[in-house]
Amino acid sequence: MHPAWSVIVFTTVAGAAQGLVVALALATLLGVPLAAGFVDAALLCALGMLVVGLASSLLHLGRPLRAWRAVAMWRTSWLSREVIVLPAFIGVVAAWWLALRVGVSAPWLPLLAIAVSALLWYCTAMVYVCIRFIQEWAHALTIVNYTLIGLASGGLLAAALAVLGGQPALARSLVPWALGLTLLAWATRTLALRRNAALKLKSSLQSATGIPAKKLVQKSMGMSAGSFNTREFFHGASAAAVRHVRLALHGLGFGVPVLLLLAVQLGAPLGWLVLALMVQGAGLLAERWLFFAQARHPQNLYYQTVS
């Protein structure tokens, strides 16, 4: 597939915002001492990121002004469900922020935020999982990775915000959370990469055309230049570029952040957490790019040869 920046930014940024909210909610529920002003500011940050994600997802549409129509088919469409749950999550986070602001005690709000965040990860992942013939996506690992990567980046974001917000004790207590989740997400994402590398594709040129010849090649795709089919479903990057992106996924997305988190755990300056966040941000954009680029759509069988 051709990775669309709108969707890459949306899923990465919203995922991290969800992870941030979950980290704050768990800290609140577990009774970790939190400065009220800090939670307030961190929730605002999450809200800002979610709005950026929502705006980015609108840019993906050919007709953004009609976006409101997308709530209609929630009975059958995971995309429709995602479109409903994202604003719902923004609403819950905004309500929590407001409750803190006006000083109303509502311990159920963080709990609700965790539940709706989990639901949003599930909906986002199911948008991809439910396309059964994109075999790279149609697997439970997609759900696991969307969730764990969001949790890991959100945990690191919470720790970095704690550093910037002058909450060193909170930052220290978040480091093991972010470290454990980053290691876990690295492991499950690596599993998905391995699975993709070993995948046997169910469709072939023979099944696509029904021509029963062992040797079968396309001589013409029926046009001399490109079409929607050649633009939307091919990433167009060289094998070397894809290798570099995979390196960025492992190194920037997980490896370097893990080392920096470990270093902070062992006594390095807390400022390194901010660096870890920036490195991981870049790496996770690469991760999401590869998620799309690695998906081999069966329609590509019909678009192999220009002549």
């Binding site: 549409l61 050919g62 007709r63 013939f133 021509i211 929607f228 069966p298 590509n300």
Partner: protein, 215 residues
């Protein structure tokens, strides 16, 4: 979507006689550019990289090893699946399958151009129109086949009318006595990518020569 419809209009493509002339492609483009929905976009039509929206393409394949080769011209358009994966994924309901005749259509006024239906079609049958920014696809010339102003013999999709070799049959595949049902039954009609269980309504009649080539 799993309930079976009483009527399912479809095309049956005879690969024995398609000569790859692209008359179905151009007649489709002409008819569907002249209708109420407006033109199918053409970008850089006279430039280095022309691109445009088409509902129908004719592709060419080579089967076998030289000198035992066969050239197969292969027209490709929406297959109007009986279980169309593109329909349930549409978030707005713009993509739908008509109950009365099984044609899969897009309501251009409801489409938000999210392209999710195109992702969910294993055949690449849908194309986003770059000018209108809505998803488009073969309509089986729904604005033609029921037109009472046309003589009954002309109430067929433009591609079927244009084909000089009669490689395109059109009819109700649920009617056992229709030409298309007989052709499928008697000449080994088959569906594309049966592995995804989309139950395409359009079927293809295999080339007898290629089948004889075996390997």
């Amino acid at each position: 979507m799993s309930d079976t419809l009483a009527k399912q209009l479809a095309l049956v493509i005879d690969l024995n006689v398609c000569v790859g002339c692209h008359a179905c492609v151009t007649s489709c483009k002409q008819w569907n550019s002249s209708g109420a929905a407006g033109p199918l976009a053409d970008l850089n039509a006279y430039d280095a990289n022309p691109t445009g929206t088409f509902f129908n393409r004719v592709q060419t394949y080579e089967a076998g090893s030289f000198p035992e080769t066969e050239t197969v011209h292969f027209p490709k358009s929406c297959l109007h699946c009986e279980d169309p994966p593109c329909v349930p994924v549409c978030p707005t309901g713009a993509s739908y399958k008509r109950k009365e005749d099984g044609i899969v259509l897009v309501d251009y006024d409801k489409c938000i151009g999210c392209k999710y239906c195109a992702w969910a079609c294993p055949y690449g049958a849908r194309e986003l129109d770059e000018e209108r920014q809505v998803m488009t696809k073969c309509t089986l010339c729904v604005d033609r086949i029921y037109d009472q102003a046309l003589p009954p013999a002309d109430r067929k999709p433009a591609c079927v009318m244009a084909c000089p070799t009669g490689a395109r049959l059109f009819g109700d595949v649920k009617d056992p006595d229709s030409d298309v049902s007989k052709a499928i039954r008697e000449r080994g009609g088959y569906a594309l990518m049966p592995e995804w269980e989309t139950q395409p309504a359009n079927q293809y009649l295999p080339r007898k020569v290629t089948a004889a080539l075996g390997e």
